[in-house]
Amino acid sequence: MSVTKETKEISTDQVNAQTIALIGNPNAGKTTIFNALTGSRQHVGNWPGVTVEKKEGRLLADSKVHVIDLPGTYSLGAYSEDELIARNYILFENPDVVLDIIDSANIRRNLYLTVQLLEMNTNIVLALNMLDEAEAKGIEIDENTLAKILNVPVIKTIGTKNQGIEKLISSSIQALGQSREPLTVDYGQEIEDEILVLQKAITEHGELAQRYYPRWLAVKILEGEDVILNDIQKYPNIQTIFTLREKAVQHLNQVFAEDIQTIIIEKRYGLIEGVVKQTVKQKKDVQASVSLSDKIDNVVLNKTLGIPIFLLTMWAIFKFTFVIGDPLIGYVEMLFEWFGGIVGAMISNELLASLIVDGIIGGLGSIFVFIPPIFTLFFAISLLEDSGYMSRVAYIVDKFMRSLGLHGKSFIPLLIGFGCNVPAIMATRTLENKKDRMVTILVNPFMSCAARLPVYVLFAGALFPDNAGTVIFSLYILGIVMAIIMAKIFKKFLFPGEAAPFVMELPPYRVPTLKGMLIHMWEKGSSFVRKAGTIIFAVVVLIWVLATLPWGVEYASQDSFIGMFGSAISPVFAPLGFGSWEASAALIFGLLAKEVIVGTLGVIYGVGEEGLAVTITQMWTPLAAYSFMVLTLLYVPCVATIGAIKRETNSWKWTGFTIGYTLALGWIVAFIVYQGGTLLGLG
């Protein structure tokens, strides 16, 4: 790749900017160390082309140095999107230093990633993190010998206690701009010969050698990795390399009984085993000794106790979300009403006052009311993740999820869906199999998000005052049942085939730190605020405009644009029990964010949100209200969710499909509820 004119024109600061990239296995303490290095000055963006979040910050000790957080990954193959992102970053963006965070209590498996980094000829600094856990397990690592063998700096750290961080920073700064000859894996004579041949051809090819480090590429070509083979196919004069590959593969298949890729992987582990022998001292059999974590697992994963404990935990999460989140919603509403009142009194121009109070302050308020329930749910989920229980949940539900044709790991995105479907759909990235991921995305909108709750609270509170709780609960259950049915149907007809094999690390239980949980909560929650917040805000202002125009009509009356629109489509909803233009208009705006339904009804009925309950009791029957809630639950997800579906499936076809089938399903179920109820005399 050549340096283009643009890059030359970029300010000197950026050209001279140096980058440290953090990499490590999931749960090795990457987030903790990233925060220790950068403090609170960090910026979250997206990796180009994908929605995986990209965290970036500046080194506290030297703000000229950029620090990039790469996705947590076990290896740099091409098995998942995360792995590819991390790998492509290292291959093509050339960070000056790659800081590899290792879980010392787990050094063999963690070194697998290190070996792959060495093979890519990266400038590594190794952090032996979780030193305390390793010591507790009786593992002793000789970091000086390890540094000598690998020829990279090695620093012992305890991320949570800030121990070793200063040394880590100074070593990383020192490593900037240096380059060293790292250890190479010796694949044995037969394979090495083939590597040399390919490496020579790659170097001679020129263009390929500019894009890839030749030895690494040679190994990948021998491994036969599809992503790489497809990529190099695009280059001119590539045929010689493919011919060489074929010859090599043929030769090696004659020599070895196993396939080449397996042998290459085993050689890497062989090297690791050798390194560990020289540098790690441990009590006899650390692996088999029963730890406290194993004792907890004996209870938590127990055949009979596991499921009750799991259900209890889920119940506790929802209880926690409501007990903490609900009163906070009230405070947020009060705050915005109070603020709107003050501002309204200060502005004399009626139209301007209405725009600012109803439109803008009301719009901001409608975003902020989501924050308490979403952040409390994400706090609870972070607690589950940081303590280590979340991966046990995947284990416990795997069998049940498999009976639906899904994967144990599908459960987590579905759970997050109860907070907000946007981060939930993003969380499906942890599913490696495309089909599992598609089904999980398509049914995710049926997980009743926090934004739908205000609608239920309003209608159930007004028309089922004695058993509002039961009514709301029944809607959550209905959503889950619909998701299960649709998942089974999709799996059977649209995405047939086995769910991906289940392989998941069960990290040791840890007492989560408050700081860690707050950081994780913030990372999930803020993606909601950024992605959904702007849309909801824009929409509320749009509602205000449509309710005001054409000029001169009464605000949000039947003569306004909203009214005309609602009247036009209302016959569609008449068989469901709510053929009024008000209901239709509210549903249209509900597309933009379900919670907006409440606000829109408040505006249209001209009573504000406070007087709504009374009005609704007068205008709606309980059966029609229930039917309306069912439709609200099921019909087309909000724009933010549709946007997330589009980004994650990368397909307008599936996005359109989701819009279509959810609308049809919502209509049918609401129809059955209303007409069935009428027949039974419940109307």
């Binding site: 290896s75 209590a105 036969g224 397996t262 582990y269 144990g408 094999p501 289940f502 392989v503 690390e505």
Partner: protein, 77 residues
């Protein structure tokens, strides 16, 4: 010593991986979690249905039954 699928092993037994029967993608996924020929496994949980839990390379890994049937292991204790 008999080589058998991992899924047949009782909790408490230790075994060495002899072979993994799987496609290319699965093998790399398993390899990155530490399942390669020669790895020593300790079976921690095996309820007869659902995933198993094994210790491999000092960590605990849950592995689906289908996968466990494709890992051929030699019991050592």
């Amino acid at each position: 010593m008999k080589v058998q699928p991992l899924s047949f092993l009782e909790p408490g037994s230790q075994a060495k991986i002899k072979d993994i029967i799987g496609g290319k993608g699965i093998n790399t996924k398993l390899a990155e979690m530490g399942f390669v020929s020669g790895s020593i496994l300790d079976v921690l949980r095996n309820d007869g249905t659902g995933p198993m839990v094994v210790a491999v390379m000092d960590s605990r890994v849950a592995i689906g039954r289908g996968m466990a049937q494709k890992i051929m292991a030699e019991k050592t204790t």
